[in-house]
Symmetry: C2
Subunit: 449 residues, 2 copies
């Protein structure tokens, strides 16, 4: 199983994970549980294992639900929100079809379109921008969502004949206590979440989708997340957020299908039938005021969060995954886990059983102009109904969370995430139906219907 | 050599590269050229090799030159420029000493200070912010530089008694044709370049250095680079920039010590003696106007760059590393490599032999407010003398480079990068001397001299 043969020490090392020798081809055939053999020596050095790559390289694109939700969280993210700039339903549907075809290709590790970066001929603009040419799929997932404003414009207009199909649970979020939202980082008609273990793969995907959308959509805002700050699978360790605490220990995990079914996926009995198998995405750009936090004593930090910083164990517990002892009392009869602690207020126990699936990322975007880093958490949550899950949770947190002294919500958006693309569908086909020309028809020059 | 024993399938996978089982300990003892065995199955899945981790996990901090220059380029970068906010030389030197101790620890994979995130006691602010607690060194390097304004203030003031030690070659760069510099992304008294294969490690390092600098320095600007766009070693493959082209094929490589010596390291005979073994860092934030680029035909893109997009070969050649045939003529007697092509204008052949060491990164920072991504190249170059290397090169490029239609220089800075820290020195000790209290003295409460 050694692949030493494939390494040529020609003075310029071959990238190990390039197209021709994909991880999947190297390892896909071996049985689960086998010990993987590294891809050999690169220029006389050792290849150490990647702690994050214990998964197949390609996440299937088609399925009953969209990938990128319960998929084990990839390391990096590029998230974009778009304004639709056309009034034409036909143009919008044509773009969704085209995007679907491109997304299916790119998540498989292929170039964005058949023509690719160099094969369409030298007298055409390349069909793919090329910066991921030497890279594998890197578990890329692309997940689309539709904002409330896609259904009904600011003027109440039925922009694309889908106003009657807007789910009641898809409405702009209410203003929460302390919100300091920047309109330039909020909302959007359409979102695309790109997650991958290599950031260049995620950036390439968003960039190529934005590129072909020119004239139909425009980027409203985008966010790069440099590191995941939650887990959606028990196979993943819990990462740390920029407050230095393990984040997402109690997150819903893919290995708990009952919770996923109850709290993540919209069901046929919910609201709009076209959303069955879909979900709702809430994005919040949460600026962390890391300087005051960093000047806070450890005891206070742990009181605010409700967990030990080192182990991640809930206060009063020893192991990260110990249950929250919300009733436990310490010295003087005070609760061991503070009444205003983040872990308590965000717990299902205190929220009448509510849970959400978190899938957020750490970010840092330069400085804020006042000598500090502009850093924080790009919070993403998926839930079956934002109005009865995220909203009451955030109302409670916004009012009482001791963490509010150290954070500021500066961006916000909500999107209806349609179900997965079946064998013949496209992104949004349960919403828009099969009307509109197919990509193939358009590329062949056939006029749309 | 299997490390299966160290994996416990307890339902929550152990991160493979956590502190206790560092890559270095797992693999450091094996001979060069051996086939590495992956660290075993994580929760029943395979561990595939990381294409970028064929190096020791720790890059030594102390040495004749600073790490992070000819070190094989790490995948991710966080770069920060600081203003010094104190007038006290003593405070500045104390911070440089403190930073040195922290940098040495963090590049070794340790927490920022002895006290760490949780061990200093619960009634103190933690000494480390904690977000890298579970992560290895990930080849972290920290490289410091001093800007012209550290030597002489805007008012001509000798701020810290080092005006006479300013190297003549350390002056603000001249304005180049087409420059559209944002003062908020330019300049700075001090820079720190953090490079690592995990972005959280780089961000953590900058953040902790900024944190302890409070009151002495303030972050002026910072830049996250999500992917390297050059190689400094023949052991590395050439990455692609966001124009989709391989970038840095002809870069100086560490394996060419004569070129490194001639073009990178300041020598004792140069200018100021304290800079011997140092270098000069030029940073340019280059916004790529990717939308017009993406609408340009492949032939024109290749003419502008002077290389084939697919292989990276110079036009007229077949292999990426083929020599530039600058004299070759094609149909109609026109040069095969256009007279205004980027590769020609940036070539040593056309620049009287000038070379520089490039170490740049791709970036994307949200959107530009006009429906486009704010993306590009954060160009970093190291050279022995910016005035006779970078400046004439950039003057030629700024005037004639066909690429100028698609790029805009929006940030600029230059720094003197002092030599490496020897056994007893600190960052800048050849400049500031041994005056000022040591970190140990300060921490013990001993007043400075």
């Amino acid at each position: 199983m050694s692949s030493q043969d494939s390494n040529q020490d020609n003075g310029h090392a071959e990238p190990v994970a390039r197209k021709g020798i994909s991880r999947r081809r190297l390892f896909g055939a071996a049985g689960a549980g086998a010990v993987a053999v590294g891809a050999g020596a690169v220029a006389g050095r050792l290849t150490a294992p990647d702690p994050t790559s214990g998964y197949d390289d390609v996440v299937p694109f088609r399925g009953a639900v969209q990938a990128g939700i319960v998929t084990p969280v990839q390391d990096r993210m590029h998230f974009a929100a778009f304004d639709v700039t056309t009034d034409s339903r036909e143009e919008l549907v044509a773009l969704l079809r085209k995007w679907t075809a491109m997304a299916e290709r790119m998540t498989a590790g292929k170039q964005a379109t058949e023509g690719g970066a160099v094969d369409a001929g030298e007298y055409r603009p390349p069909d793919d921008t090329g910066e991921a040419l030497d890279l594998d799929a890197c578990r890329l997932t692309l997940t689309i969502g539709f904002g409330p404003s896609l259904f009904v414009g600011a003027d109440g207009k039925d922009r694309f004949g889908i106003a009657g199909l807007r789910p009641q649970r898809l409405t702009d979020l209410p203003k929460f206590t302390g919100d300091a939202l920047d309109p330039a980082r909020s909302g959007g008609d359409i979102c695309i979440q790109a997650c991958a273990d290599d950031p260049q793969v995620a950036v390439h995907a968003i960039r190529n989708l934005a590129r072909v959308g020119f004239g139909t959509v425009a980027v409203k805002w985008s966010q790069l997340g440099f590191g995941r700050t939650s887990s959606t699978s028990t196979s993943q360790s819990t990462p740390r957020n920029l407050f230095g605490f393990k984040d997402g220990t109690r997150n819903i995990k893919a290995e708990d299908p009952a919770a996923v079914s109850e709290f993540v996926w919209a069901a046929p009995i919910d609201d709009q039938a076209w959303m069955a198998g879909g979900s709702y995405l809430v994005a919040r750009r949460i600026r962390m005021l890391i300087e005051p936090w960093d000047r806070t004593v450890l005891h206070e930090q742990e009181r605010v969060i409700g967990r030990s910083k080192g182990s991640g164990a809930p206060l009063g517990g020893r192991d990260e995954f110990d249950p929250l002892e919300l009733e436990a009392k310490g010295a003087g009869g005070k609760p061991v886990i503070d009444t205003d602690s983040h872990v308590r207020l965000a717990s299902a126990e205190e929220l009448g059983g509510i849970q959400i699936l978190r899938r957020g990322y750490n970010f840092t975007d330069g400085s804020d102009g006042f000598g500090h880093l502009d850093a924080g958490l790009f919070f993403i949550a998926y839930c079956r109904d934002p109005q009865t899950q995220f909203v009451p949770m955030q109302q409670s947190l916004a009012r009482n969370d001791a963490l509010n002294e150290y954070i500021k919500h500066v961006g916000s958006a909500v999107f209806a995430v349609p179900p997965g693309v079946g064998d013949a569908g496209y992104w949004g086909s349960t919403l828009f139906g099969d009307a509109g020309p197919s990509v193939d028809d358009r590329e062949a020059g056939t006029p749309g219907q």
